[in-house]
Amino acid sequence: MFVCHCGENIAGKLDVEEVAEFAAGLPNVEFSTDNLFMCSKQGVELLKEAVRRHKLNRTVVASCSVEQHWPTFARAVEEMGLNPHMHEQVNIREWVSWVTNDWDNATEKAKSAVAAGVKMAALKEPIETQKLDVVKKVMVIGAGVAGLRAAMDLAELGIPVVLVEKEPSIGGHMTMLNKTFPTDECPMCTLSPLLNGVANHPDIEILTLSEVSKVEGSVGNFVVEVTTKPRYVHDNCTSCGRCSEVCPVEFPNEWDMGFGMRKAIYKPYPQAIPSTFTRDKKHCIECGLCEIVCPVQAVDFSMKKEKREFNVGAIVVATGYEQYDPVEITAYHYDHPNIITQLELERMLAPTTLTKGKILRPSDGKVPESVVIIQCVGSRNDQVGNAYCTGVCCMYALKNAGIIKEHLPNTDVYICYIDIRAPGLYYEEYYKKAQEKGIIFIRGRPSNIEPDPYEEKLTVFVEDTFTGEPVEIEADMVILSAGMIAPKGFGKLGGKLGLLRAKEGFAKEYHIKMGPMRSSREGVLLAGTIQGPRDITKTVAHAGAAASAAAQILVKGFLEKRLDTAIVDKDLCIKCLACSTVCNPGAIDVDVDGYAFVNDTACKSCGTCAGACPTGAIQIRNFRDAQLKEEVIGLLEYNRLVGAAQ
């Protein structure tokens, strides 16, 4: 028995020595002591030495959670020749010291937990591990910069990748941007080596117009069904564009946020990958002109939806973000043509769009003399349910304000902000540069934007909180720095993958510090903005981490699975198979005699079956009814002991 102080974490809230002394008197306890940090080298050595000297066959450490340090001590007992499961962990930190201020009660509670742990330890059974083969292949869902980076990193390690993208082309939001902070580089230029690299990599299969429709299996061996919508143009398309020239249907291009036009048969933008054209069935009037003009007969209206199954060992989710829709903040009147979002501005600045890259007031094409940028639209806003700071908008606002100034040196550019958030190397410097460009910074969040009743003008109402005066800014255009939110349809995919989501809608990470690229499900990794808003720098780093975490599962070729799984006692089993109906991963089969039979590979040790079984025939190893009962008895006995003494 080892009682840990965890520095002051435990010892500052309860009497660890008293707990250790108490444990020494419990049946079966050979040796008991306390120690400042059990997880330190000295602590571990102390444990090993005690096992050797006292010939212990079981150990109990009362310290932190199983998650945190069970593996540390289990490894130590294993080194001493015992089965690692002969170690029992009692949590007196999260369960006791961290949640109390009452010294005496905490000490008592710790003692009762220790009493229960010692009882449990006596009944622990050895657990073996099993080697499971893994499928050395990864599916990456979403082909924005995060998905591309992860796919490339994996493929370069020799791990084949299936890259699934729902749009007709890959690249995601980064391809829509005009410049990228903090260097003002052209994003297409920086991204296209990666885009082309992925497109031409022999180990990467790209599926566009595709979405995941079913997920089965578990880490190491998932079976994923992907549904691909028909493109109506075969891959022999040479991208000559004649179909598009003759197509009579024209309407706003989604990729250009309405600042450019496209035909019903189209490529979203000139450098799009794959370069094969796409026919948009919804808008097509089926005149058939494209079929006629195509020199290589690539157009084919008879193409059908396809479903394919893939066997993969891990899944990387990189489905990105969406821009917050500002219509919700009605005081900003986003329905007005001269009030646009930053993403719309990024498109307006592209040379291929309607304004040919010029900044013009949408309602009448006038060159704006005054532009107001408003920060935190849909971020840092409890009213719309997004309390978080997007953390990117300040930087892209500085970027775009500077670009407007460069295009139109005589135009007044305002940024109305609550706080400018530009932490880290090069970012504050970028802020200073923007200040030097003559952008007018107003510290205040505008309350409302009112369109002038008589002229094409907007009035922005804001307090200059530095002077404490309410001001009105007359503007020709207003640009809303709309925050980044989780993609609206993500719930469906998240459900199929069995992922937990944060209340803001993003995929919940395993641990915010130690596992931001892991999801709540083993074998499913998170890359980029699907785990929370971030810029490209951080997206790329995060995606790299996700790729390496996926590779970690696959490179050895096998997984070691702990078999603390469910087990059936045939003597008790009445073949009702209640267990099999409740088992979520479908781990329970039927053997030749009709008894329930557990597939150890698939079993997640959740214990649901044990609850459903009417006879207690199915049990989880080391969580057997008899073991838990003994643990509870330990707890009750202690409390009765105390009750009697008082």
Binding site: A331, Q383, V462, E463, T465, G468
Partner: protein, 177 residues
């Protein structure tokens, strides 16, 4: 306070000099105005602030710091309770209601404008904040309405009971200017 003859020109923040009653009163009504991020949405929303010294954001700041000068100044009485700031605050603070809490506290300490005292007296006397007069009685008759409406105006005993039970104002403590 310093005993020197030169008063410190700067406001000193010192333990025990915050007006805890302000903080408590707001808390009791469920306002955690410490969560105010001083964004100024409220000030920018405020019609009154365009014409008067009322800067809602500063009122919130002073109240959060327990600065009792906020109760003594007439600023909080410039709010027309239009609720623009309340509906727009991104931290979802009930700004207008917080101002009402401050006004209640100011009233309890006797900071009430003399005209407002008068309104309370009129209510006690007539049952209405704006009472009837002879001219209007005549107009009412011309319009085919009873000269006196069937309200408290007609029920003096009940009026008195009401006046005895409600709105007992604190004695004057230096009229709010």
């Amino acid at each position: 306070m310093s005993s020197s003859s030169f008063p410190n020109p700067v406001r000193v923040l010192r333990r025990g000099e915050r007006d805890e009653e302000i903080i408590k009163a707001l808390k009791n009504e469920g306002f955690d105005i410490n969560a105010c991020m001083q964004c100024g949405t409220c000030t920018a929303s405020c019609l009154s602030g365009r014409w008067t010294a009322l800067t809602v954001r500063k009122v919130m700041r002073k109240a959060a710091l327990g600065d009792s000068s906020v109760l003594e100044s007439s600023d909080i009485w410039m709010c027309t309770t239009c609720y623009n700031c309340y509906d727009r605050c991104p931290r979802d603070l009930k700004v207008t209601d917080a101002i009402i809490v401050l006004r209640n506290l100011a009233s309890a300490r006797g900071f009430i404008h003399k005209n407002h005292r008068k309104v309370v007296q009129i209510l006690a006397k007539t049952g209405h904040a704006v009472p009837i007069n002879d001219k209007i009685q005549q107009v009412r008759k011309e319009l085919g309405l009873p000269k006196i409406p069937p309200t408290l105006a007609k029920y003096p005993e009940e009026r008195e009971l009401l006046a005895k039970t409600l709105f007992q104002l604190a004695p004057e403590e230096g009229d709010e200017q």
